[in-house]
């Protein structure tokens, strides 16, 4: 199986007043055509920086480590020229972010947004672009596309804005959709609608998706595979069923236990002590060690990602040297 997207040894550093922030370090992740991968973790873990790297949307101040490789459909993204990069963004790779309202131009109608996006990637006349705009609005489940094209972003609810924004991302028939917390600003009922729509679209259009979320419930609902990030590194990757049934990394287990759920206990769930450290001062050794109930001497040096089962890897000494654990 050839990968559609391949990240290899991706490292991203930002200069800050407190010194270099190593936001992402040595992240390797591949997404197959049509596959949905959820990148899960708390804020400050490097999920969004990883996603932005794919399309080289990082601020100018960011530097990529010399080992970093990004390949999309066999092409070296880091070697693309400006024009090729422009065609990739919103072309073969579509994007949706958390706040659709902030990404839509308030003085342009929804139709104008779509026509502009379609014509940026396809040499079609205006009438064709308009017809395609209405098709796209129907694809994302907006009723009455003929009226929708004439509406302005502020006339739409948050859920409708997210659908319109998604229609733009789909305009050039992307093979990969990058969705960064696409439902976080929405009510739970609207979230359920958008998640169902995303699952439906990836299936119907054969589109792969990199879904960034802090919510394990969302990963459980839509992902084929789940990658968990902590402190700039991937700490566990597994197919969805395996990750939830046999979480190997103590951070993954902690997240699962901490998540409040309707079928769980009615007392507060066990928390993970402490907080995510700062990217300018990651702990030495295993970065999760200061918050980990199983930490032992071995954790003073950093573990590598090791296989716990086929297709299942975790970055923890308990995986390779289980006798040291307290569990």
């Amino acid at each position: 199986m050839t990968s559609l997207l391949e990240l290899e040894h991706l490292s991203v550093t930002f200069p800050t007043r407190a010194g270099p922030a190593r936001a992402v370090e040595d992240v390797s992740l591949a997404i197959a055509p049509g596959e949905t991968v959820a990148l899960v973790g708390e804020s400050g873990c490097g999920k969004t920086v990883t996603a932005l790297s794919v399309l080289r949307l990082l601020p100018e101040s960011a530097t990529l480590g010399p080992e970093s490789r990004i390949r999309f459909d066999g092409r070296d993204v880091l070697a693309l020229g400006r024009e090729e990069l422009r065609r990739l963004r919103g072309g073969a790779v579509g994007m949706v972010f958390q706040e659709p309202g902030a990404s839509l131009n308030p003085v342009l109608t929804i139709g104008a947004h779509l026509v502009e996006t379609i014509q940026a990637h396809d040499a079609v006349d205006r009438a064709t672009a308009r017809a395609r705009a209405r098709e796209l609005l129907a694809t994302v489940g907006l009723r009455d596309p003929d009226r929708m094209v004439a509406r302005y972003p502020h006339e739409l609810s948050g859920g409708m804005q997210q659908r319109a924004y998604l229609a733009m991302a789909l305009a050039a028939r992307p093979r990969l959709l990058i969705a960064d917390e696409p439902t976080t600003a929405l009510d739970v009922t609207t979230q359920a609608q958008i998640l169902a729509l995303l699952a439906d679209l990836t299936g119907r259009l054969g589109m792969a998706m990199l879904l960034i979320t802090h919510n394990l419930g969302i990963a459980a609902a839509v992902a084929d595979r789940v990658a968990v990030m902590y402190a700039g590194r991937i700490v566990e990757v597994a197919p969805r069923a395996a990750l939830f049934a046999h979480p190997a990394h103590p951070y993954t287990r902690g997240l699962l236990q901490a998540a409040p759920r309707l079928d769980g206990p009615t007392r507060p769930t066990p928390a993970i002590p402490g907080a995510v450290p700062s990217a300018t001062a990651w702990p030495e050794g295993c970065r999760f060690r200061p918050r980990c109930a199983h930490a032992w001497d071995r954790c003073n040096s950093e573990p590598t990602l090791a296989a716990t089962a086929p297709d299942h890897t975790a970055r923890c000494w308990l995986v390779t040297e289980p006798r040291g654990g307290t569990a």
């Binding site: 708390e42 759920r261 928390a271």
Partner: protein
Amino acid sequence: MTAPPLLVIEHLAKAYRQSRGPLRPPATLAAVADVSLAIPRGATLALVGESGAGKSTVARCVVRLEDPDGGRILYAGEDIGGLRGAALRRFRGRVQIVFQDPHGSLNPRMRVGTAVREPLEVHGIARGADADARVAELFREVGLDPNHRGSYPHQLSGGQRQRVGIARALAVGPELLVLDEPVSALDVSVQAQVLALLRDLQARRGLTYLFVAHDLAVVRQMADHVAVMYLGRIVEEATAERLFADPRHPYTRALLAAVPTPDPDAPPPRLVLRDDPAPTADATPGCPFHPRCPDPRRADRCRVEAPSLRDVGPDQRAACHFADEPAPSG
């Protein structure tokens, strides 16, 4: 539950005026319409619903950040609407609010120790070395190292900032805390820490909570009683046990079905509700929920007759014509 409730809300109403352009008179949008609730001392009442349901408006009226247009709020038997001067100050010493985003509610240029000390001085509770000692004590009580007193809000993590927000609210020794989405902005690992702290403080200080939240899984861990709001009205109200075990209003059932569960074998979040709420219940004749109602029993009656909130079981009330019957399966 024979003791009189600490907080009673009676027929609360609050409307906002919305401009419709220069040529038309402004529209009146009812944010809250006829909300009645009571919280026994030491209990937690959760107010849940989608954004725009009116939850925060109720919360803001309870702490007198807003004045209602109709109805009244009784605190320990006293109508808070008429409180002025010293009486209002005394009220503010008993009822405090904790906001969602401590980043937004804490002054970024004020050291967090000063932020917690300020209410002690404003309310004449302590000054000088005595105030210093109390601030250190409050920090320890909410699980913060007193050495953080000299920090600025941006130097703390989200969870630490929310602990500062809680310490500031506790400084005046309140009896009732209004918690407006207190953990929504926090990561899940830290959210659990703050929820445990709130439970702990409640037990230790005998606090009463009005807990405003949209996350039903969190509410289930915290609440004794739950009121579900839709377009400014309460559509269901019950003990937490009953509401989660046997929800009677189709909107409550839809909210519950939409919560994603971190378990791949669980049914996926169900697409029960299409569309968005109407901008306000005023625009909808009949039941405000009927345009979105997925209940197969929805009938002509729902389009013309607004259901009233009525008893549908022990400690349970719902505003649905069909709430007496068990939920349809599937």
